[in-house]
Amino acid sequence: MRKLSFSRKSLGIPYALFLLVFVIAPLLVLFYYAFTDGQGQFTIANLTGFFTNPNTMGTLCYSFALAIVTTAVCLLLAYPIAYILAFSNMKSKSVILMLFVMPMWINFSLRITALKEVLTVLEGNLAMHPFLNAVIGMTYDFLPFMILPIYTTISKLDKALREAAMDLGASELETFLKITLPLSVPGIISGVSMVFLPAMTNYVVLDMLYNSTYIMGSLIGSYFAAYNWHGGSMIALILLGIICLFTLLTNGSEEENTRGGALL
């Protein structure tokens, strides 16, 4: 009888299969549709079409603007929260942390629906401020992803570093600007990349808010809804390219700081 033997390599087989079926194959399909027309002929018309169509380019710019504003608002809100969290005592720490993590335990659509009702009461007609509402909705959804990595980075900083700066003559503010802030940059980058990319594509939030704002995600959705798989695939591919570029830029500092996300 042959003995069953496992080498370490064979343990990688399920992962390789998963990668093949769910990543590589869909990517190939995506490439195929992006560079063919309705008759299955090779074409780059989808690519040139995207960059020459003022509507698609407009959506791309608008998505960028929305993502930048959302990320900035998230960062401005998250940093002070993370800072306070990192320096508060054990008891109040868990309370504050819960305050921001607990909403994540509630179903996403329920949360957004609740937000919609609140905004309706405040604004009367949601259609009046589409951009503002889009920023509010996304900030509400993505804020914890910004808080946690920053919080992790700040709380891991050696207390002695700040003491050393004070000891060498820096005031509290100077210590923050020269020590704490620069050393929390990895957390900031990690948080930004976790918020920026979803903010460009996550149109479900907007749909649920009855928001007319049109972002990249909505654009792809509309192409597929109209059975234009070729145009939709090309836009998805372009977005993928943007994501790859962004990841390359932030790669160095991100690596050491993805633990914040794991907390969720």
């Binding site: 002695a160 050393a164 000891d167 060498l168 003559g169 100077e174």
Partner: protein, 479 residues
């Protein structure tokens, strides 16, 4: 003069935490300009807390800190002309070496060319010329330590605080840095306040040592003072190895301890209860009968430079460092020069004696069985069915090699005329009237002195038996 000589004064400093724990209590200290002062003590003794209060990272609950006679108690650390070398260096990882060292000078708005000159000079001082553009991560622990020292020294502080700065280095590097730090101190003339738990480090480097325990100053003095004249049993025990005995003054410059009568140089009143400290290197081995006391060699360990010999004399143990070896079981005599016996007036009169465990696992002293269970005394121990005794880790306890130290307060012992009733018998060798009671010294047949408090008057040289209730005894395991 007087006042201006002191660069820093701590007056009645107390630091109490919210949970009521006092890290430092009523701490008083004066440090002279240019001194090298070391806070020495075991971890948790309050030495680091005291240092942090001088630096300004921690504020005292009460008391005052004066710098050059001016109060700085509540001044934030950045306003104090004091710099710190941290235990784990605390170099800024996002700056290179030059930026790290220049940090304090930039804070003071020093002109750029002056900063450059000073950084170069201080790097030469710590022997790391040309390291300006290196990053912190590329440096070894020893090099990081030097940079941390340079970063503090470049500001020309009035006082340099060092919080166990050599703790993370290996032994060889530590020894080198000790010498270098001492040399830097002598060269720069800056006041150093140094925190360590390493007594050898403290003795090597300091002008003055402050020994601390449980938030209180135990003794302050030069290394020689601290080593040769420890003020109490804690200091004697913490600084170097010591033989510590309870005893009594039997006459002018005569003390009895460890079963013998020794001549000494400390003039303490006759009849006073004392603690005698003898350093292991000060005990001289003689032929049996020629010394002041004699005993049997119990163990001999070779320590490289000397032998460490443990001699059992009666119920006492004496540790001796000698260049001459001995064989276990050999009978030897021991003598100590009068100037090498350090006599302290005992603060604590607790009687301590060693009891044996007999084959039936009962506690036995002088043939009397003490009515208590051995398993209760040794925490977590248990008897197995085959009659062996196991400790909490399941290891066998050999009753022959194990002794139990029993302590009992003087007022818990009673004297009786009925000799047979007592656990141990002896005669009253001394008595002092203490206002509301008499304090007796009973010299027992086992050559031990017991101190007994009694409100009734007994006579000198009366033969008595000592009654000791078991429920008043405290027990500790000694292997």
């Amino acid at each position: 003069m007087g006042k201006s000589e002191n660069i820093i004064e701590l007056k009645h400093i107390t630091r109490t935490y919210e949970d009521g724990f006092s890290a430092v209590s009523d701490f008083n200290l004066e440090v002279k300009r240019g001194e090298f002062v070391t806070f020495l003590g075991p971890s948790g003794c309050g030495k680091t807390t005291t240092l942090r209060m001088i630096a300004g990272f921690d504020l005292p609950t009460s008391g005052e800190i004066l710098l050059n006679g001016e109060p700085i108690t509540n001044l934030p650390p950045n306003k104090r002309p004091i710099n710190t070398v941290f235990q784990r260096y605390a170099l800024f990882p996002h700056m290179n070496i030059y930026e790290n060292i220049a940090f304090g000078l930039k804070q003071k708005k020093t002109p750029k060319d002056v900063i450059e000159k000073k950084v170069k000079k201080v790097l030469a001082l710590v022997d790391l010329e040309g390291f300006e553009n290196r990053s912190v991560a590329t440096l070894s622990g020893g090099q990081q330590q030097r940079i941390a020292i340079a970063r503090a020294l470049v500001n020309e502080p009035e006082i340099l605080l060092l919080d166990e700065p050599l703790g993370a280095l290996d032994l060889k590097m530590r020894k080198e840095m000790q010498i270098e730090l001492k040399a830097m101190h002598d060269e720069l003339g800056i006041t150093f306040i140094y925190v360590t738990h390493d007594q050898e480090e403290a003795l090597t480097m300091s002008d003055k040592i402050v020994v601390m325990s449980e938030g209180k100053m135990q003794q302050i003095g030069t290394p020689e003072d601290i080593y040769n004249e420890p003020k109490n049993a804690f200091v004697a025990d913490f600084i170097g190895e010591s033989n510590i005995f309870n005893g009594i003054m039997t006459g002018k410059l005569k003390a009895r301890f460890c079963g013998g009568e020794f001549a000494c140089v400390d003039d303490v009143e006759q009849g006073t209860h004392i603690t005698a400290v003898v350093r292991p290197e000060d005990v001289e081995l003689t032929a049996p009968g020629e010394g002041i006391i004699s005993g049997v060699v119990d163990s001999v360990i070779f320590k490289g430079m000397h032998y460490e010999i443990t001699v059992v004399s009666g119920k006492n143990e004496m540790v001796i460092q000698s260049v001459r070896s001995a064989t276990p079981g050999e009978r030897v005599g021991m003598r100590v020069d009068p100037e090498n016996i350090h006599i302290m007036i005992a603060e604590d009169h607790t009687n301590i004696f060693a009891a044996d465990i007999n084959p039936d696992f009962h506690l036995e002293y002088n043939g009397h069985i003490l009515d208590t269970s051995v398993t209760k005394i040794i925490k977590g121990s248990r008897r197995t069915e085959d009659g062996t005794l196991l400790d909490a880790h399941g290891e066998v306890i050999d009753p022959k090699k194990t002794k139990i130290m029993v302590s009992i307060q003087p007022s818990d012992i009673r004297m009786t005329d009925n000799m047979e009733e007592g656990i141990v018998q002896g005669y009253i060798s001394n008595l002092i009237y203490k206002g509301d009671h008499y304090s007796y010294v009973i010299h027992t047949d086992l050559e031990q002195d017991f101190i007994v408090n009694d409100e009734y008057l007994w006579n000198m040289d009366d033969q008595v038996g000592l009654l000791m209730p078991v429920d008043k005894m405290k027990f500790a395991l000694k292997r």
